[in-house]
Symmetry: D2
Subunit: 265 residues, 4 copies
Amino acid sequence: MMHDIQNHADTREIAIDKVGVCNLRYPIVVLDRSRERQATTAAISMSVNLPQHFKGTHMSRFIEVLNRHRGEVTMRTLPQILEELKTTLQAQSAHIEVAFPYFLEQSAPVSGAQALMDYQCQFTAEANGKTSTFTLSVVVPVTSLCPCSKAIADYGAHNQRGEVTIDVRTRTNVDGTAAMIWIEELIQVAESSASCPVYALLKRPDERHVTMQAYDNPVFVEDIVRNVAVTLQADERVRWFRVRALNHESIHNHDAFAEIAWERL
Amino acid sequence: MMHDIQNHADTREIAIDKVGVCNLRYPIVVLDRSRERQATTAAISMSVNLPQHFKGTHMSRFIEVLNRHRGEVTMRTLPQILEELKTTLQAQSAHIEVAFPYFLEQSAPVSGAQALMDYQCQFTAEANGKTSTFTLSVVVPVTSLCPCSKAIADYGAHNQRGEVTIDVRTRTNVDGTAAMIWIEELIQVAESSASCPVYALLKRPDERHVTMQAYDNPVFVEDIVRNVAVTLQADERVRWFRVRALNHESIHNHDAFAEIAWERL
Amino acid sequence: MMHDIQNHADTREIAIDKVGVCNLRYPIVVLDRSRERQATTAAISMSVNLPQHFKGTHMSRFIEVLNRHRGEVTMRTLPQILEELKTTLQAQSAHIEVAFPYFLEQSAPVSGAQALMDYQCQFTAEANGKTSTFTLSVVVPVTSLCPCSKAIADYGAHNQRGEVTIDVRTRTNVDGTAAMIWIEELIQVAESSASCPVYALLKRPDERHVTMQAYDNPVFVEDIVRNVAVTLQADERVRWFRVRALNHESIHNHDAFAEIAWERL
Amino acid sequence: MMHDIQNHADTREIAIDKVGVCNLRYPIVVLDRSRERQATTAAISMSVNLPQHFKGTHMSRFIEVLNRHRGEVTMRTLPQILEELKTTLQAQSAHIEVAFPYFLEQSAPVSGAQALMDYQCQFTAEANGKTSTFTLSVVVPVTSLCPCSKAIADYGAHNQRGEVTIDVRTRTNVDGTAAMIWIEELIQVAESSASCPVYALLKRPDERHVTMQAYDNPVFVEDIVRNVAVTLQADERVRWFRVRALNHESIHNHDAFAEIAWERL
C-alpha cells in the first residue's frame, strides 16, 4: 500500500484559497450560435480550496474530471464540472478558467466576401456552497481613429488596431441558471462602439468602405468604453461588466487604454 | 488655436475608472539594499480616473510626468509621481504599475562562486483623495521536490523549477509613509519556503549540495505557500499579502499552483 | 473603376523575397494516425516572392486561397495550396507556415489511465519552379534527469521538464511526393531519447514508475540530441533534420540547450 | 575527488553543433553614440560546438566568462568573449546572442519635446577557427499609411504601427575588426523608409504634423523594405543585410509583412 502523503494532517493552521493545475492545453467544444457547436483548443486552469488540516490536494483528479467531460466545456456544463471538482476533491469551492480562440464567419461590408475572424474568449466559473458565478470574456479587435488627430490635421487622421475586452456576468434566471449572452452579441457591442470592425478578408471596395467608415466615426479609448457601457447598462440580462479598450497607437510605441467596471444595483 | 477635443463636454454620464498609457518601456533606477541604486529597464502603466463630464484625458502628460522623474521610480518617489499625475491631469485618483527585472549577487552554497540572479518585480501604487496603497511584488524562481514522489519511489524524486510570487503591502508609519520591506527580504522568504534556492552559477560541489538539499526538503506547492504565509503573518510590518506558488512540473506538460491571500485584522 | 496601386510599376529595381500575411489565426484539420482527422487551431503565415517591376502584392488573395481549403491543411494538400498561391498571385515561389497544437491520447505507464497530451507542431512548405520542400516540426515535452547531479550526490538528482524540437524533411518518393513521417513517430523518437516521457495524467503507481524510470535513465541535453540523431540517421526516409533539446533547469533560472543539424549525403 | 561525467568519452560518434545556455537575464552596458555608455538589461544565449568524443560541456563556465566581462557586452568586447568561450570550453567555435532594449532621446518634430524611445536590439556574434561574424539587429517601430486605402477612399487612409527589423553585417576593416555601424544609424534608415517615425511624446502641434506627414508618405510593407534596401546597398560599410517590415494592420486582425535578404558580391 502506497503512502498518501497528500492526506497527511497539516499543523500550520493555514487554509489555502486555491490549489490546482494551470497552463493545461486541451481541445474543447463550445456553443456556436449559428453552427451549434465549434471545436477549438483551450488553455485551462482548475482549482479548489484546501482546508487547513489537509497537507495536499490530489492533482490528477482535476484531469480526470476534465476527461469525463471531454468535448463539452460550455456555460451549460461548467456548473456540473465545478460540482464534480468539489465532490471529487472534497472541497467547498471550485474555480475554472477556460481560454480559447473563437472563430466567426464575417462578411465584408460591400463585397460580402466571407472569411473567419478569430476572437480570444474566456469562461471563468466559480462555485462555493453559497454562490456561483460565471463570467464570459471576449477580446474584440477593432479599428479606432483618433478624434483629436482628425480635428487638428488638414487631412488624414491616425488610426490603429485596438482591442476591446468585455467581461460580463448575467442575472440569475428563476431556474438558477445564468441568463444567456452569446459571444456573438458581445462582439457586436464592441464593434459598434469603435470606429469600424476589423475583418479577415477585404476586397478593394470593402477597403474603401472601412477607410471612410473609420474616418466618419472617430473615437478615443474613452469613447469606446463609454459606448460599450451605455449598451450593456441598458441590457437587462447584464448584472456586472468590466470593459477595457486598448489602442496600439500608430504614432507611439506604447498603448493607450481606458477601463470601466460596473455593477447593477 | 487648435481644437482641444479632449476638453469637450461628454453627455453620456459615464465616469471612467482608469484611462492612461501602458506597455511603455523605460529605463529606471530602483533602490538596492547593498549597492544603494540599481539601473534596470521597466514596462510601465499609468492611469487616472476621468469624471463623467470630460470627453478625454491628455495622454502626453503621463509621459511628461514620468520624464520629470527619470531615473527614480522607487517606493519613495512613487507617492509624488501619483500626486503630479492627479494635479497635471485634474484627476481624483491615479494608478501606476512598474514591472522590471531586479538583479542580485548570489553566492553558490559551497564554492562561494558569485553571479547575478534575476527576479521579476513590480511596484503597484495607487492614490485617491482618501487612501493610497503601495504593493511590492516579487517573482522568485526556486527548486521544488515532490514529497509524494520521494515517498513512493525506491529512489529519486521528481523535482522542477517553480516560481513563488509574493505581493505585499505594509502598515503605515506614523509619518504616513509605508513601512519598508526590501525586495531582498521577500526573495529570502520565498527561497527558504521551497526545497532549495536556484542559482545562476553552481560549480560541481555546489550542484552536489543543492541536489541533496532539495531531496532533504521536499515540498508541495501547498507547502510553499503555507511556509511563506507563516513567515509573513509573523512580520509585523505586513498588513496584507498574496502568495502564489507554481511548479513547472517535470512529469507533466502543465503546471501545479497554490494561492493564499491574507489581510491583518 | 478603382485604382490598382499594387499593379503599378516600381523603378527601384529591387525584388522582394517574401511578401504576405502572418499571425493569422485559423481553425484547421490535420491528419491523425489513429483517428484519421483532428480539428485544431493554427497560426498561419503565407508569402510569395515579388518581382522587381511590381509595386505590391494583393494581400486579400492569400486569405481567399486559404478559405478555399478550409479544414484541410495537411502534408497532402499543402503542395496544392502553394501552387494556387503562385498562380493567384502571379509569383514564382510560395511559402507557408502553419503552427498548431496537436493532441494525442497517451496511456499512463502502470495504471493505463488515458488522457490527452498536447504537442506544438509546425508545417513549413515552400515551392518554387525547381524544388519544393516540406518540413515537419514537433516540440515534445520530456523529463530529463542530470547524470552529473546523480553521480556526485549521495542521493537524489536534479531533473526538470525539457523540450525536444525535431524538424525533419523526408526523401522524395518516385511519384514526387515526400515520404510520410507521422507526428506520432517523432514524438516517440523524442520521448525515448530523454529520461522519461511526460504525461497529462499520472496516478500514484505511475508517478512511482516515472520517478524511477527517470532516475535510471539520466541524460544531458547533449545525450538527448545525440540519441535523436542516431535514430533519425538510421531512418531511410529522413534526408535532413535539425534537433534541439532544451532543459528548463530546476537548479537555475536559465535553460541549457544543445542542437544538431544533419543532411544525408 | 568528484566524478567529471562531462569529460567521459562518448561513442555515438556524433558531434554537436551548439551546446550552451539560453534565456539568461543579465544587466549589460552597451555603446551609446551620444552618451558613450548605456545601461540596459539583456536576454543572453551562449554556446560552443562539442566534438564527437566528449560526453558533455561544462555549462557553468559560460556564466563565469560572462561574469568576467560584466557590464561590457559591445561590438568591441564580443570578439574577446568568444575567444574566452572557445579557450575555456576547449571548443573550435563559439556563438553568442544578446537581446536588449535600447533607449534613445527623440525630439518631437514641432514642439521639440524630448522623451526616450525604446528599440529592441540584438548582437549576434560567432567565431570559429577561420571566420567570425557580427550581426547587429534593430527593431524600429514606425507608422505606415496604406497607399491603396488613400488612393481609393474619398478621405482618410488606414494606417497603423509597424515594425522594421534590420539585421546587418559590415565589411572587415584592415585591422580585422568589423566596420562600425551605430544602432542610431539603422533607426534613422528605418524611420525614413516608412510613412513617419513614432515617438514617445507628442504634443498637439506634433500630432498634427505626424498625421499629415504619414498621409503625405503612404507606403506598403513592400515599399518599406525596398527603401531600406536602396539605402543599405549604397552604404559601402554594409556587406550583408536582411530587412523585414511588418504592419499590425489596422483593418485586419493579422499582420502584413515583406522581407529582403541581400549580400554584396
